[in-house]
Subunit: 434 residues, 2 copies
Amino acid sequence: MSEPYELTACQALAELRGRRLSSEELIASCLRRIAELEPTLEAWAHLDPPRALERARALDAGAPSGPLHGLPLGVKDVIDTAEFLTEHGCPAVFGGSRPKSDAACVALASRAGAITLGKTVTQAFACGAPVRTANGLDPDRTSGGSSAGSAAAVAAKMIPIAFGTQSASSTIRPASYNGLVGMRPSMGLISTAGMKCLNPSFDTLGLLARDVSDVELLWCTQVGVPFERAGLPARPPRIAVCRAPWTAAADQSARDAVDKAERCFALAGAEIRDLPLPEPFGRLVEAHERIQSYEAARSYAAEYFQHAGALDEQVTALIETGFGIPFEEYLQLQKLAAGARREFGVLVGDADCVLTTAAPGEAPLGARALGPAFKSMGSPNQSRAWTLLHLPAVTVPCHTGPSGMPVGIQLIGGFGADRRVLRVAHWAAAVLSS
Amino acid sequence: MSEPYELTACQALAELRGRRLSSEELIASCLRRIAELEPTLEAWAHLDPPRALERARALDAGAPSGPLHGLPLGVKDVIDTAEFLTEHGCPAVFGGSRPKSDAACVALASRAGAITLGKTVTQAFACGAPVRTANGLDPDRTSGGSSAGSAAAVAAKMIPIAFGTQSASSTIRPASYNGLVGMRPSMGLISTAGMKCLNPSFDTLGLLARDVSDVELLWCTQVGVPFERAGLPARPPRIAVCRAPWTAAADQSARDAVDKAERCFALAGAEIRDLPLPEPFGRLVEAHERIQSYEAARSYAAEYFQHAGALDEQVTALIETGFGIPFEEYLQLQKLAAGARREFGVLVGDADCVLTTAAPGEAPLGARALGPAFKSMGSPNQSRAWTLLHLPAVTVPCHTGPSGMPVGIQLIGGFGADRRVLRVAHWAAAVLSS
């Protein structure tokens, strides 16, 4: 057998159920992997190896607890955990803070048998200055943000599954940069209880793994449906290809990924059509950005008014931009968004999903390569509109860019059709890797 | 001058600005009122008089700080406060818990100069077993829930303004029971950061005062628009009267309130029409209840799995009902709700607002009158559908029931038209009190 840390969640579960592997062995293997790579990756904000091993032994000694029995999990540090510090990426304000109870997603995962190994690095409040966390596949490159630590840790095989969050592109972009499968579920259908609130209009849990099945497994434990490893769909899917106005700002490699996927999917029998977007959709990227700022200013009002000196320049700029946006503009943008949500459903028609760009391209160089010149973890603009539309999105690896780094594609489903888009993602991943 | 505690917020502000009253005098007057009535009312979970007086002196010594300069404020105990315990109505789980930072609404109010006097009583997690808090107008009757303490304290003139929350009827119902003006703003436009998450689909801040102007003042500080005391509208409003299917379950007094308002508004020149609701709207009350349970189960998963013995029967029943609801049903109900939101806008047409019932009738008898037989703070069913529709709602006092207790009406606006419905509420309150 390969080293346990190399297993995907579903592979590990099969070994655990067959009693060929204990949870303690799996956790210990992951902890050795973390000990080896963490000095390079800087993916973890807080770790508690003895606690994880103790929980693993308890699970090994008992009956199967649930669908995540014995699996190690990483949790982004804007998500509350009663057994770990939760500093929201900002120890200057939240240093030493330990919530009284777990976030909903953590409680549900724990109940299903997952073992939280620790909290993963994120920018301050999921929107602040870049963090040093390296890409799981190349330490000279950034992991992307804001679910930086979760994505790097899964890509480097420190853990098989992790929670991120997304209010713009914070799960899909780092997943693409790290060659992962990442999912942003339909807005509002998974409880955000215990997640640091940035945007009531956009905040969602993000799911990260190296495999579509593992993401689906995590999703199932959150919404409460039984997980069965998916077979391929009965017929090849109907796919609408969207080369949106904002893809012009992406690197060639991001557009190449969509072209490649389109060709592969057509060869595999998919029914392909183009999805041109009417004019108002071109305004959604900016609409998202403005709504995000308006809401961030209110959500972080306490931090801004009471801890101004402890906030970094990026958080401060976001909040101050937000306080400068008139309520009337915010309201008009919300109406634009609501109208676009209605119209988009009509445009997509009977397509099983939309194929589009996931990230601006390969992961840019990071803190290790650039030193003080490192200023950006990449633009969120390839996801802003989809986030604003409240639609479920899954990224799967597709292409290799000029530097040899992965570039994903993004599959967008209809509202609430999370499982349908996961099924297409299974099919797409199989087609793209064959 | 009357005692300072008797002043509404806008009246007190005028005195404060004219230097005829200091914030310290106002706070001291309110604290005396609290000391006198609190043994009967049981409205407060936590109070800190020395802190409030100290803040008042600091504000008196400085320049005007903002539109709420020097005003005492009550904050429902499911809303985070860094300077007070926040126990979510459940000390068995959250005893001694003090959040690291203020909720967004508290930070914005403080920045505007408000002084939080303390935290007000609520049921556990805003959905648990009845609390003893008495009605501010009759100690034998309940204040209603779940914003029980906030409503009672404002009605008893312990404070002029308070924050509640609403996920079903938790602001509108206690406001009606206490003869107050209460507002549930449009869903999603005021940040819920730092409010205990019950329903991502429904949670909103609630605003409570004895006067429409005071509610509008609070609303303005939250969304960031300047407050000016409203004049009456240029033309009498267009009002659609909705006798919804669920009003049949209300007491006669609730329906009488609507009839009385309709007559008064017509006499005052309003353009009145009926708003019949097509069949699917009859399902919204149950749809809200089922969505609420499904989401409560997830939002309170940590409390349920980790502190089961500390939860009361009502919280436990809500969570267990929720875990029994299949995801597919939840999703279908969300789609029903989204469809109803679209359709309702068309039905309302150019009406300025909808007139309907606010509460099931007068405040029922409470803990003091009934002892152990006290089991209910009243049904939320007169507000469930409006909450589900995400529309702004304002209740104003209208009628007196057979026991001499107040019965409000509810005015519902279009999504985002919060200020428009407040203007109609100004007009309605003037008409009804003339």
